[in-house]
């Protein structure tokens, strides 16, 4: 114990810090600061841990538990027990296995939708807000056009077309993403319109910065807050939309399943066999909640003026 302090393990330490000072790169140190601020946000860190556990369980858990999601066990409609943690349904599916499988699909769809529609929305908002004029006019009318299309009808038609096909989750996510970018485009455009008139942008221009640099280094970092919030809300909204479609029978095709399908099927039995409804439901709520808290923490961590740390 005593010689631990003099052990060679302690020796390289000062050398390492010297190296850090010498090769300290501004860009990485900024992200290190963001990380430090994020770690101070306890709720966000806890949510991230829970989220990681949920995601890992969804993707790896299926192979670790005793039952496959499409396996028919001998227990019908049994309540949650040590054998079946989340109980079983009328024909003997293990609900836990089904929830894990469903969460996997729901997560993929939700994340795909969030990433796609956030990218498209941000890009369109950036171009419209920064270049204004004819670019703005064209892109915003396009946005208006998409806003006027009753998205759910299109979703139903498209999912009906792919109904029953095993790969339909991809088509489903693309179509959902196609109707989820408009709000963000509007928001980002608004932010850019106001930010581009600020003096620090003028200062960058006076220094000879290119449009690309002004957009990437000055305008986007200053609009990240709303973008992140919007993205996390989108994850929740995408899950709900997929759930609604599945509820109506247009979503993920069986034997594949999703949380939406499970909730929809369980809803019928929610009074008699509550676990069929509440278990996937809780899982769904927990995922959305965690993503939103993580988003909150990220937003606060990226904003240097946000010193308030919530528990």
């Amino acid at each position: 114990m005593a010689d631990l302090a003099h052990s060679p393990v302690g020796a390289p330490k000062p050398a390492a810090t010297d190296e850090m000072v010498e090769f300290g790169v501004a860009a990485t140190s900024q992200w290190r600061r963001v990380l430090r601020r994020f770690l101070r946000h306890k709720l966000a860190v806890c949510s991230l841990v829970v989220l990681v556990i949920l995601v890992l369980a969804s993707f790896l858990g299926g192979s670790l538990i005793a039952y496959r999601y499409d396996e028919l066990t001998k227990d019908f409609s049994s309540a949650p027990s040590l054998r079946h943690w989340f109980g079983t349904d009328t024909i003997g599916h293990d609900t836990f296995a089904q929830v894990l499988r469903g969460a996997r699909r729901s997560l993929i769809v939700a994340l795909l939708v969030a990433v796609l529609s956030t990218s498209v929305g941000a890009l369109i908002g950036v171009l419209a807000g920064y270049y204004r004029g004819i670019v703005d006019l064209a892109l915003m009318r396009l946005t208006d056009l998409f806003l006027t299309i009753p998205s759910f009808v299109v979703l139903l038609v498209v999912s009906a077309r792919y109904r029953g096909e095993s790969g339909n989750w991809l088509a489903l996510s693309l179509v959902i993403a196609g109707f989820f970018w408009m709000q963000l485009a509007r928001v980002v455009r608004g932010i850019f319109l106001s930010l581009r008139e600020r003096e620090f942008v003028e200062a960058a221009r006076a220094l000879g910065a290119t449009d690309r640099r002004i957009i990437l280094r000055h305008l986007l970092p200053n609009s990240l807050g709303p973008i992140i919030v919007n993205a996390t809300l989108l994850v929740g909204a995408a899950i709900v939309t997929e759930t609604a479609l599945s509820f109506l029978g247009f979503g993920i095709a069986p034997p594949d399943t999703s949380l939406g399908r499970l909730v929809a099927e369980g809803a019928v039995a929610s009074r008699t066999r509550w676990w069929l409804f509440y278990m996937p439901g809780l899982y769904l709520v927990l995922i959305s909640l965690c993503i939103n808290f993580v988003g909150d923490g990220l937003r606060d961590a990226i904003d240097p003026q946000q010193n308030r740390v919530r528990a």
Binding site: G24, F200, A204, A206, L207, G208, A209, R217, H218, P304
Partner: protein
Amino acid sequence: MTTVPEDGLAAMGPEAAGTDGPRPVLSVRNLVKHFPVHSGEVIRRRVGDIHAVCGVSFDLFQGETLGLVGESGSGKSTIARCVLRLHEPTAGSVRFGDIDLLAQNRKQMRRLRRELQIVFQDPYASLDPRMTVDDIVGEPFRIHGLKDNVEAETRELLRLVGLNPEHGNRYPHEFSGGQRQRIGIARALALEPKVIVLDEPVSALDVSIQAGVVNLLEDLQERLGVAYLFVAHDLSVVRHICDRVAVMYLGRIMETGTRDDIYKRPSHPYTQALLSAVPLPDPVAERGRVRIVLKGDPPSTVAPPSGCRFRTRCWKAQDICAEEEPALVDRGQGHPSACHFAEVEEVV
């Protein structure tokens, strides 16, 4: 007496103009900037122009400070931005040494920006809130591809403007107004420009802080030989820092000359009115002096008055003022003044 060269509107150089004095580092001729005014929401119609700057000419020489004073809306800041092509001038010419700035394309202009820099009025708005001070001051180097040793240069710049280089990893909001303005100055100095446009650099600061920043600017000029175009409405600050002064009203230069010409021998009624409003530190003198109070507000810049722009508020106005625009020439008072009835009268 001395005639003013070229178009008769040029502000005089430090030595008598018209002779082959030193060549100006920045020369502006007949600068005009109109902003369109639109009406309607859906169908936008151009209903007129704001005449922000109407034919302004001046020269700026190396190592000197030219003050541009006038009330709000007189076009001072517009000139500052036109010189840097942050606004595109409607007409006129801006030359930097031998280079016609208005003829440069975007890429060429970006390279030239190393030579011409600006410090903004509001130190709270002119620094990117998401960047650390190191990143802000180091950005000019990164933009112009001068990547080696950015860190050392940044530290040196912060030291030069009187800030602790150790604070480089902080964000702008952690500094006071005066310190932020110093950061803005450090950023402007980074590429060692020949001309710095100071757009009301101290008017957003407390009086006690102003002195520090003004002294810093003077100090830097002495050390680096940079020329300042100092835009301000505070006449006492201008008097302190400027070698020459141009007084503006409604987008035109009313009177121009050396500091002493303007402050001790003002000949334009507008200059006299402005100076009579400068508070005096001596209460007895302050109470005893005559204040020239102008009637009314400045007229609309969309439809400026005919002839002399100041005639609607001038106590000397005659018929000729409405008919003929007075040229900015020396009428015997020793420096150019755009008034038909220019007459030296000591005010302060």
